[in-house]
Symmetry: C2
Subunit: 186 residues, 2 copies
C-alpha cells in the first residue's frame, strides 16, 4: 500500500531527513511512503513550481492513502498546500489520515493571536469575522473529511515538545492505516 | 451549470447578504450558484459541524464547478476550509476557479508578519521554515491546480478597498465560467 506523505515538513531545514524518517516508519509497518521531495525537480527552471505541482499530483494519484501533517503553520490553521492535498485525496477517494502535533482547540489558538469577542451570539475576531467554535483543532471541513473518508485526526494529549520533529502522532496514523488494510483483507 | 461558492464569506457578519449577491451575479450570467449557507442546518444540534460538512460535500458533489474565494484569511494564506474544498473539487474533476482580492506575492505577505531572512540560499521565517518564493500570491498547489483544472487565479491589480465585499474578481470568475461553457458547446 502506497501512502502520500503530505505536510509542511518539506519546508523544514532538515526536510530530506524528516522524509527519510517517515518513509522508514512506513517501511517498518510494511507500507510504502511517497514523499514529495523524492520527486526530482530542477528548481532553477522557470517552471519549477509547475513541475513540483505535477509531480506531487502524480504521486497522489499513484497513492492509496494520504497522511497529512495538519500541525498549524504560520497562523491558526494547517499549511494551505497540505490542506489542498488532503481535499484532493478525499475527492479522489483515497483513504485519508492526518495528525496535528498541536491539540489546541481552534478558537483558543485564534484567541492567542488576537482579541476574540462575542457579538450577536457569534464569536468574532477584530475584523468581525466569525471564529469557528465547534471544539475542533481546525476547520470542520478537514476534521469531518477525516472522520468520513478515513480516520479521525490524531493529536497528542499535549503540545509536542518539538512540533516539527515529533513523529509519534505520525506513526499512530501509519498504524491506523495498517489496521485498515488488515480490516479490509480479513 | 451549477457552481459551488466556496469562501470565508460564510464567516462575515453579512454572510447571508454576500451569498445572495453572489448567487444573483451567477443568475445574471445564466448560472446557478450554490452557497453553503443555503443548506439548512440546526446549529444547536450536537452534531451541527458534521451536518454542515455533509451538506457542503453534497453541494460540491452536485456542482459542475467551484469558485473559491482565496483572499488571505487569518494569516498569509487562504482559509483552510476553502482550500480543502478547492482540493476536493479538483479531485472530483470539477471545473476549478478562484480569486483573491489581495494580489500581494506570498513572500511579501509573510515578510509583513515576521522577519524573513536568507539561510543557505533558502528564504526562511523565524522558525527556520522555508518561505515559498515562486512569485505567486499563495501556495503553488492551489495556483497550479487552478491553471491545470480550470482557470488561473483571478486577482485585482491592487488590493481591493474592501477585500470582503468587493465582488469584481468574483464576477470575472463567473464570466470565465460562461466562456468555458460556451467553448465546450461551440
Amino acid at each position: 500500500m502506497k501512502i502520500y506523505l503530505a505536510g509542511p515538513d518539506v519546508f523544514l531545514p532538515d526536510a530530506i531527513e524528516i522524509g527519510r524518517r517517515k518513509v522508514e516508519i512506513c517501511a517498518r509497518h510494511g507500507l510504502t511512503g511517497l514523499y514529495p521531495l523524492d520527486n526530482v525537480v530542477d528548481l532553477s527552471a522557470s517552471d519549477a513550481s509547475l513541475a513540483i505541482f505535477k509531480a506531487n499530483e502524480a504521486m497522489m494519484d499513484a497513492a492509496d492513502a494520504i497522511i497529512a501533517n495538519l500541525t498549524p503553520f504560520r497562523g491558526p490553521s494547517a499549511d494551505a498546500g497540505t490542506v489542498y492535498e488532503l481535499g484532493y485525496a478525499a475527492g479522489r477517494g483515497k483513504f485519508c489520515l492526518a495528525y496535528s502535533n498541536d491539540p489546541t482547540v481552534y478558537r483558543d489558538r485564534v484567541a492567542r493571536m488576537c482579541d476574540v469577542t462575542t457579538s450577536d451570539g457569534r464569536l468574532i475576531d477584530p475584523e468581525g469575522l466569525t471564529v469557528e467554535d465547534f471544539g475542533w483543532p481546525d476547520n470542520l471541513m478537514m476534521i469531518h473529511a477525516l472522520d468520513l473518508h478515513g480516520c479521525p485526526l490524531v493529536t497528542p494529549r499535549q503540545l509536542s515538545a518539538d512540533i516539527w520533529h515529533d513523529l509519534t502522532a505520525f506513526e499512530a496514523c501509519v498504524e491506523l492505516t495498517v489496521d485498515h488494510v488488515k480490516g479490509k483483507s480479513s
